[in-house]
């Protein structure tokens, strides 16, 4: 039986003309009304489904979960883009929608919720196009890079005759730039894989100390050459954590590598780890030129480079974007605190929601 339409939901005609699907529910998740676009997309009729529970009619668990949360908390659902995007197959084709759920209040009680689906299909298509493009280009760069790397290697080994000192200098320069290109391609590919949703975490229980050691070890020589000290401060009571060892090592190594690049001779880079609440914190601190305030938010986005930066050149602005993806895939967060000419502290957290001892119980 159809419930009476609450007063707040009067005058719904205006919403009919909106191009996005809209669904109204009461406070028990029963459908009160849907607009024309929702009827088309889900193949339903407003009159026939009134009063039915949302999940019975539109069998999408992701929306149902967000709906229940919004009705319980009274707050607008505020999930990340990925968590709030759904794929819908209708007779008209395949759509991607971003879900926003707004609870509707009447004085002090929640009367229901408005489920708004924004069509992001075109955006998704472009995103896929870009990811595929990056993947193809990176792949196409690898092959020529391979013959150059081999050629340079053989020249250096003297397999093709002895080089003059100037020739050797030139070959060394080519080799360094080959490495730079390889690294760039590597990063582009990593990112395109992550964006394509191929970031698969292979988690295991790991010791934090071993993790930090593994990340720092390859950097030690570079640090010594540049006369920079790498200091580690690790609390003695750290629990083992469940994470993807290689990926978190990648994140830490990337942060330490950046810190070294922005350090001057005689500087110190500090790597710290501690537990607070139900999170473990990792931080990497340098005493370099710092990051201007306007970049501190955007620096984790792709291809962002700090303009007019005093530090060394190089890098395509991908490393931190990959760090962010990896940390967030673990359910953690990453941020930077920085002051110009004083240095930067990059910190990331990983949740300790699962404690090993609890699992073994």
């Amino acid at each position: 039986m159809a419930p009476d339409t609450p007063p707040l939901f009067d005058n719904l005609q205006l919403l009919q003309i909106l191009p996005d699907p809209l669904i109204l529910t009461d406070s028990s998740s029963n459908i009160v009304w849907v607009n024309q676009k929702a009827e088309e997309i889900f193949g339903i009729s407003c009159e026939e489904i009134k009063g039915w529970s949302f999940i019975e009619i539109i069998k999408i668990n992701k929306i149902d979960k967000l709906l229940k949360e919004a009705l319980e908390t009274g707050e607008v659902s505020d999930s990340s883009y990925e968590a709030a995007t759904i794929k819908v197959k209708s007779h008209e084709g395949k759509y991607f929608f971003k879900i926003v759920i707004r609870p509707m209040w009447n004085e002090n009680s929640i009367q229901g919720a408005l489920i708004q689906l924004t069509d992001v299909t075109r955006f998704k298509e472009l995103e896929k196009l870009k990811t595929d493009f990056v993947s193809i280009v990176s792949h196409e760069i690898r092959t020529p890079l391979s013959s150059i790397t081999m050629g340079v290697g053989m020249l250096k080994e003297g397999l093709l005759g002895q080089l003059t000192p100037r020739g050797k200098e030139m070959v060394d320069a080519i080799e360094r730039d080959c490495e730079r290109l390889s690294k760039l391609v590597e990063n582009l590919l990593d990112l395109s894989r992550i964006e394509a949703g191929h970031i698969s975490l292979e988690t295991q229980w790991i010791e934090v100390e071993g993790l930090i050691d593994e990340a720092i070890r390859p950097m030690k020589m570079q640090a010594e050459e540049n006369n920079v000290e790498i200091e580690t401060i690790i609390s003695s009571d750290l629990p083992r954590i469940e994470a993807d060892f290689n990926k978190i090592v990648w994140v830490l190594a990337n942060l330490v590598g950046n810190a070294l690049r922005y350090s001057d001779s005689g500087d110190k880079v500090t790597v710290q780890s501690k537990v607070s609440g139900n999170r473990i914190f990792f931080s990497v601190e340098d005493r370099g030129c710092g990051i201007p305030e306007e970049y501190q938010e955007t620096i984790f986005q792709k291809y962002v480079q700090v303009k007019g930066h005093k530090g060394p050149a190089g890098g395509a602005g991908l490393g931190l974007a990959i760090c962010k993806e990896i940390v967030e895939a673990h359910g953690g967060q990453i941020w930077v605190e920085s002051e110009e000419d004083k240095g930067s502290v990059f910190t990331f957290t990983l949740p300790l929601t699962l404690r090993e001892e609890n699992l073994e119980d």
């Binding site: 690898r142 890079l145 391979s146 081999m150 290697g153 053989m154």
Partner: protein
């Protein structure tokens, strides 16, 4: 007798690089440029090691590998994949088809020598004996 290495690759510059690199340390390098020719060559000539690209005309590298590793006469010949395909799923798939090693491009001559030496300890040395 020199150790016979078959390179299955259709990129001219890679062929030049790998050939030069391996001949310099005493391997005998044979080249075929598609998967069908590779299967034929291996069955007739029984090389000591195969360097196999994955993206190949006619029959791709995965299939070449699968066929060789499922044939009693050829299954013991080490197959080292040399590819620009860096995705984990490609590596997994190649290993499932029986590849012995998986190297992604680009690589340095030293890395290639080291990998081959794991299966063919003698290159130049055998020639000198």
């Amino acid at each position: 007798m020199e150790k016979k290495v078959l390179l299955v690759e259709d990129e001219k510059n890679i062929i030049l690089g790998v050939r030069t690199c391996l001949e310099a340390v005493g391997y005998e390098v044979h080249v075929v440029e598609d998967g069908e020719a590779a299967l034929r060559f291996v069955r007739n000539e029984k090389p000591h090691l195969i360097l196999l690209d994955l993206i190949l005309p006619k029959v791709d590298g995965f299939e070449v590998c699968y066929n060789l590793k499922n044939d009693e006469e050829t299954r013991d010949i080490p197959v080292v994949v040399l590819t620009a395909k860096a995705a984990e799923e490609d590596r997994k798939r190649a290993m499932e088809q029986g590849a012995d090693a998986y190297m992604t491009k680009p690589f340095r001559p030293q890395e290639l020598w080291d990998e081959i030496k794991r299966y063919l300890p003698e290159g130049k040395e055998s020639q000198e004996k």
